[in-house]
Amino acid sequence: MAHFEKAKSVNEWLDQRLAVNTLKRVLSTEYWIPKDINFLWAMGMVLAATFGLLLISGIFLLMYYKPDATLAFDSVNYTIMSEVGYGWLWRHIHGVAASVVFLIIYIHMLTGIYYGSYKKGRELIWLSGMGLFVAFSAEAFSGYMLPWGQMSYWAGMVITNLFSGGSLEAYGLVEWIRGDYVPGDAFLTRFFMLHVLLIPLVIIGLIVLHFGTLRIPHVNNQEGAEIDFEEAAELYKAGKKKESKVIPFNPVFLSKDVFVMGVYFIFFFYLVFYHFNFAMDPVNFDPADGLKTPAHIYPEWYFLWSYEILRPFPKDPGLIAFGIAQAAFFFLPFIDRSPNVAPAHKRGLFFVWFWILVVDMIVLTILGKLPPEGIFNTLGTIAAVVFLLLGPALFVITKFEKKL
């Protein structure tokens, strides 16, 4: 047994046993953040807070939700919505957060792309972030099955059918995933398990990894400047706060984060209380019916851009294009050949490339919601082809980019 002195305070008592002071210093008061950043750098903490909201609202939904194909629909739409005190609040928080979290994820990703924050030394931050994107997509999809309405059923049907691999006709795999010939009770209960346990565990693990990968390279800054963090930290600790290029995470950066979160929460709860309908598809208020397809099947808005890449092509090329679109962003750090870590407006053609990407994704999103007819078909094909060409285009553009 090691030697322990009698502690004079609770803090000292904890410090002797858990080294809380060291932890606090290493993880927050001496974790250095560059000064030259803007509100976009608060999006990560906004995402963490939104995940917290999903967790809390999800726990309360879980108290009355029944994972059973005959009971699920009523347990959500009747019990939770009209019997449970404030049940509607948890459901609306959960639904709005699941939608808004993707808006913030896209902003967070595009910020990273704009400032080149996926480059040398920061590849793992990008890769773990993409892991989070995939895990959140799976979490949202599995959650969408749970109310067992018409959209749950038919989205479940269409998405699991993707796993037949087109002409590979791997229907055995599709039936294995479903546990039935069509989505049924076995399907609902296993997706329930994924939604409330396995995927949330994966998400929490990935968040820890994501934070860990930030530690050594530190967050990027508006100019992509390389900073000697040790020197800058010494300056700050010596009281030369003006001269130093950095601030500590806690309390200086965190207080800015909290301000941005405050603004975000006003917007968020405005949606929850006055505009929750955008996150509640009316078609999903009809119970699941395997003998009737809704007139239009479309995913939630955040999947529309990749869905639209699947749609204009014949089945096999469509699946391949869709697969490429899903995986493309993973490879960004390796497709971009330029060594410049700088904001897009200083990188010539890359700036143009960036805005074509943004506009194309918005166009794909809008077209994904429109019926697949006439002119929309043509536009959809063009937008999808443009997206696929952006990959090789990035390689060429960055290969010839002037070194700054």
């Binding site: 049907m157 010939y181 069509v182 397809t293 089945k315």
Partner: protein, 170 residues
């Protein structure tokens, strides 16, 4: 560290690793089997349908293994096809009513005499052949057996076997 100690450690490491790998494989197999469809799901796989009351150019939808089954009695002006189920003088189009693209249920348009899938705009004629859009293959024909004017779905009769052999359905 002595040479024999090293050897003993290597041996124990390999033995432990080997047994762990075996146990891991067994666990993976058990997990795979737990995701398989239950026997009760697989057993409920037969349905009998009576065709005698069917009317021309009116689509009937039956249910088999949870999937919709299209039954369309063909009128004289519809082209006969090798995929038809023939009972006496009457020809029927019978197929699984799920679009071969991604599995939505196409709607039947009696005026245009074709199926239209709202999901991505696919179209099929009255024999189930794809005529427009992303569907890569004709509507699938489930295993069937003819018994008088009745069809048993889930059982492969000689007429179905002939279609299979001719490569008309998968």
């Amino acid at each position: 560290m002595g040479k024999d100690v090293q050897g003993r450690r290597d041996f124990m490491g390999m033995a432990l690793g080997g047994f762990t790998a075996l146990g891991g494989l067994g666990a993976l197999y058990a997990m795979k089997r737990s995701w398989d469809p239950l026997p009760s799901v697989k057993a409920a796989g037969f349905t009998t349908i009576d065709l005698s009351a069917a009317q021309e150019n009116v689509l009937n939808i039956e249910k088999w293994r949870g999937k919709p089954i299209f039954i369309l009695k063909k009128s004289k002006d519809m082209k006969p096809d090798d995929r038809d189920v023939v009972i006496g003088e009457d020809r029927y189009h019978m197929s699984i009513g799920l679009c071969t693209h991604l599995g939505c249920i196409p709607a039947y348009l009696p005026e245009k005499k074709m199926f239209h899938c709202a999901c991505h705009g696919g179209q099929f004629d009255t024999s189930g052949h794809q005529i427009f859009g992303p569907p890569p293959s004709p509507l699938e024909i489930p295993p069937f057996k003819i018994e008088g004017t009745k069809l048993v779905l889930g059982e492969a009769g000689p007429e179905y076997q002939k279609m299979l052999d001719a490569g008309i359905t998968a």
